[in-house]
Amino acid sequence: MIERKIMVKVSSLNKSFGDLHVLKDVDLQVAEKEVVVLIGSSGSGKSTLLRCLNFLEMKESGSIEIDGVQIEPKSTNLNVFRQNVGMVFQHFNLFPHKTVLENVIEAPVVVKKVPKDQAIAEARVLLEKVGLADKEAVYPNKLSGGQKQRVAIARALAMKPKVMLFDEPTSALDPELVGEVLVTMKDLAAEGMTMIVVTHEMGFAKEAADLVVYMHDGQIVEAGKPMDLFTAPKQERTRSFLQAIL
């Protein structure tokens, strides 16, 4: 296997909310173009881990390196740093007062100062890619959940991030709309985007993931290739979790 550069490197990450120790010495490495799927029961700290990676939550101790650069809130301009890390949320969080196109061009124009014409042209390419070219002029409340999530993906991609984080991107969708979002995510993976995905969609994990990571109680219990982890989990905890969900 070719040695790839490490895009995300988390070492001994700790995070507490008050007395609740949510992340306990978490170590994780994600190589460039790798797709990592995070699984684990509710409250195990999956969302918190993702949110620490783009500093929506501030870590307590440990180190986070993105593309070889160590990120510290004190010395890093977080607004600049966050442009490298796209995030897709369970509840889409589209801007309801802006059209689909305006949602996508907002950050490039306002944050990166990309000329509006250029931002619009780039946004149209992205909307084409997620299959929503014909929806650019409508407001989010006129879209289905699946369409909203695809716009949210396009919006995050518009900043040309190096890493994309997905926090249960299909959990709020009606079952028949899950597929279209997963297809978009698989396309993205195939294009070589580095992705960390929290999901309960084991089909996606089997097809698209290079690594599946099982978290329990703030710790990474086991990590492995999807086939290995799903068919022959080494840890008893992993086995019982997989039995419960598969």
Partner: protein, 238 residues
């Protein structure tokens, strides 16, 4: 001559006078509400800030203004400011504006807090600063939500502006009392001015209802950017 026809003839003959009073009433109200919106926004930001001192200042301000009668505040500014050569009109306007700013601050605070925190997180995750998120994401949505209560505040202010009559600002109510005293037909002119206020209030209530309907129905618009020549201007279609 019956009372009714007397009422209508007085109403007809006095309308040029009352019309001027009406304009002044509207002007007082509009200026006070606009200044109150600016002040209210500042106080709301104080109230929502991380600084305990700013929050305390805003809290005391809101408590003082909401805890004392408007007429006291208006006289307070009248006696305080007219010494400095400030006209009764501006004393009334400033009094009304400060009074409204406290109420409007609470309207804004509520509407800003009602915006889903996910909006802020989405903006921050895209690299926007907290100021950019506030200005471009949160405030536009919060303003829309604040419009109906702001409309109601406008109506309250319209009626409250009658208190400016007591510092001889010649708005509607002042004209009514002056006419009444001059002609000894106080009741007639009180009824006439009541009709003026009622009609104004009904008109503005209608506008508030329209606003509420529009914003509860959600965005129905479609907004297209011209594909051929992109000057970046949004054009409303449909």
């Amino acid at each position: 001559m019956s009372d009714i026809s007397n009422f209508f003839s007085r109403m007809l003959e006095s309308y040029p006078l009352f019309f001027e009073g009406l304009l002044l009433t509207l002007e007082l109200t509009v200026v006070a509400i606009l200044l109150g919106i600016v002040g209210g926004l500042v106080v709301a930001f104080f109230k929502l800030s991380n600084s305990r001192v700013l929050r305390a200042i805003a809290g005391v301000y809101i408590t003082l203004i909401r805890g004392t009668p408007l007429i006291v505040q208006i006289f307070f500014f009248y006696f305080g400011l007219s010494e400095l050569g400030i006209s009764a009109y501006w004393c009334a306007t400033i009094g009304l504006a400060l009074h409204n700013s406290a109420y409007i601050a609470e309207i804004f605070r509520g509407s800003i807090q009602s915006i889903d925190h996910g909006q802020t997180e989405a903006g921050r995750s895209l690299g926007m600063s907290s100021l950019q998120v506030m200005r471009r994401i949160v405030l536009p949505q919060a303003f829309l939500r604040a419009l109906p209560p702001l409309g109601n505040q406008f109506i309250t202010c319209l009626k409250d502006s009658s208190l400016a009559a007591f510092i001889s600002s010649s708005e509607l109510f002042n004209i009514a009392t002056a006419q009444g005293a001059r002609t000894f037909e106080e009741m007639t002119y009180l009824l006439i001015v009541a009709v003026y206020y009622l009609v104004l209030v009904l008109i503005f209530q209608g506008i508030v209802h329209l606003l509420e309907r529009k914003f509860s129905a959600g965005e129905e618009r479609v907004k297209t950017y011209d594909r051929k020549k992109n000057h970046g201007k949004g054009q409303l279609a449909q």
